[in-house]
């Protein structure tokens, strides 16, 4: 058994065009996901939008610079994550495919074992 971080990316602008009913559909999708794969879930959260993000970078002199916004300005922003446990990548992918992810997609990354 191994752990994977599943990152959910989506285009925030596309969300703005849809109403409350759509948001409810997605929430239902996540609830269904949680019920179906409960035994494999080790954690997960939705994140507030990227406008609430703060980035901290190290500068050349070893100090830090704090700025507004996500680390990488990309069309699809990180919107949430799950931590899942699965035997292998195929099993992890099968679980991840059930996560609702309109306007973007999902990344599956193995968590390093120390």
């Amino acid at each position: 058994m191994a752990e994977y971080l599943v990152l959910i990316y989506s285009n925030e602008a596309s969300w703005a065009d849809r109403g409350e009913e759509f948001a409810k559909e997605i929430t239902d999708g996540h609830n269904k996901f949680g019920q179906k794969h409960g035994a494999s879930l080790r954690g997960g959260n939705a994140l507030e939008s990227t406008m609430t993000a703060t980035s901290i970078r190290t500068n050349e002199s070893g100090g830090t610079v704090t700025t507004d916004g996500p680390f990488a300005e990309t069309k699809e922003a990180l919107g949430g994550y799950y931590v899942i446990e699965a035997d292998d990548l195929d099993a992890a992918i099968a679980i991840a495919k059930d996560i609702p992810a309109p306007f973007g997609g999902i990344e599956v990354r193995p968590i390093r074992v120390m």
Binding site: A2, D87, D88, L89, D90, I93, A94, V108, P110
Partner: protein, 389 residues
């Protein structure tokens, strides 16, 4: 190799064990004679060595880097057992989470047994670059835990299809090199044929697998006729069909017929069927173009790719005339995927030439010549331009 990986669960160690087995064979067969079943002898020796190596290694060191293997079943020491291992290896090398180029490189290295240097040459990159790519791939397989198994029933169709795409890519790269001095790289073609036959042996009931083999056989049957006496490129229309390899065609036609009989033709069955129409025509003028267009219509439904649409447009130009063909080609001219595709410009040039719009044809052929990096194709295009005058 495949049977040994099952035990070592590590590509590099498996390789060492297989090398050891070969070395032992060289040493002992000279004195004791070649065993009745050399394949089984080598496999058994390699696996015994692998078990030995496994026993001696520190368990802590082994923990992270292994392939995930189902340990519930032990392979039978029959041919069937080892064939399952080959299937497992194929599906691992061609896992969709690996880049397509990487899948091809791994297939050449692990399934066909090419050396890293040979694979590097096939990709026209430096040995060190290919070695690095293969190392990264093995690392990903281990760390992301790509399983060493034949996929679940529900995934099998799409996984087989991605394996077929890899082998087909290998074939098309070999058949017409994207760059370089020669029209084709025969080694790659041979390897793709080996893999297609291996797949056919392992999955004898799959129509798409049979069709890939048919497609390769039918297309490669023209190998001897594609290049003229002066090394110049010869189009299908200009090839001496008596130079086509009859045995390959016969074998291919039987496979296509069998696949079509199974119904619901997939992408490779349709492509093989198109190749079969060409292979069945004794002469270019007797080609059943209406049939080919019909097959392309079906292929486009199953596989809405701009390259397929272009190929269909070319068939339309022969079934319905160059004006209809040109219209179909021009409909694709704004597709970004085709913007640097030399065959679009070449196809336009051909239609324009047939319509006697020579100035425009010249421009189109010149554009195509700029876009291709294959010298034989470029020379051909220059000769088309010369002929326009």
């Amino acid at each position: 190799m495949a049977a040994t990986i099952r035990i070592t669960r590590d590509f590099d160690v498996a390789e060492e064990c297989v090398q050891d087995a070969f070395a032992r064979a060289l040493a002992t067969w000279g004195e004791q004679g070649i065993p009745t079943n050399p394949g089984a002898w080598l496999t058994t020796v390699a696996r015994r060595r692998a078990i030995d190596v496994g026993r001696r290694r520190d368990v802590a060191m082994r923990s992270q880097r292994f392939l995930v293997v189902d340990t519930d079943t032990e392979p039978e020491a029959t041919e069937g057992g080892f064939e399952d291992d080959r299937l497992r290896l194929i599906f691992t090398c061609c896992h969709p989470s690996l880049a397509t180029d990487t899948q091809v490189a791994l297939a050449l290295r692990m399934l066909c047994g090419l050396s890293t240097a040979e694979v590097a040459k096939a990709f026209l990159v430096k040995d060190s670059a290919m070695a690095a790519r293969l190392t990264r791939a093995k690392k990903k397989i281990a760390l992301a835990r790509i399983p060493y198994r034949v996929p679940e029933r529900s995934e099998l169709r799409s996984r087989i299809d991605s394996v077929l795409l890899v082998v087909h890519l290998l074939f098309t790269t070999g058949h017409t090199s994207p760059v370089g001095e020669n029209l084709s790289q025969v080694d790659l073609v041979e390897r793709s044929l080996d893999l297609a036959r291996m797949l056919r042996g392992l999955l004898p009931d799959d129509a798409e697998v049979a069709s890939l083999l048919a497609l390769i056989l039918l297309t490669d049957s023209r190998r001897g006729a594609r290049v003229g006496a002066e090394g110049e490129f010869l189009r299908l229309a200009d090839q001496d069909r008596s130079k086509w390899h009859r045995d390959s065609i016969d074998e291919g036609l039987v496979l296509v017929a069998e696949s079509i009989r199974q119904g619901r033709p997939g992408r490779f069955t349709l492509m093989a069927a198109i190749a079969a129409v060409h292979s069945s025509a004794p002469h270019w003028d007797e080609t059943d173009w209406a049939e080919i267009v019909g097959l392309y219509d079906l292929l486009l439904e199953a596989w809405p790719s701009p390259v397929v649409a272009l190929n269909r447009a070319v068939a339309v130009s022969f079934a319905q005339g160059p004006l209809a063909g040109l219209a179909a080609i021009d409909a694709l001219s704004t597709d970004p995927q085709l913007s640097t595709y030399p065959y679009l410009a070449a196809a336009r040039g051909d239609c324009l030439e047939r319509l006697e719009r020579f100035a425009e044809a010249r421009e189109a052929f010149e554009e195509a010549a700029l876009l291709t990096e294959n010298h034989v194709e470029r020379d051909f295009l220059h000769s088309r331009i010369a002929q326009l005058n």
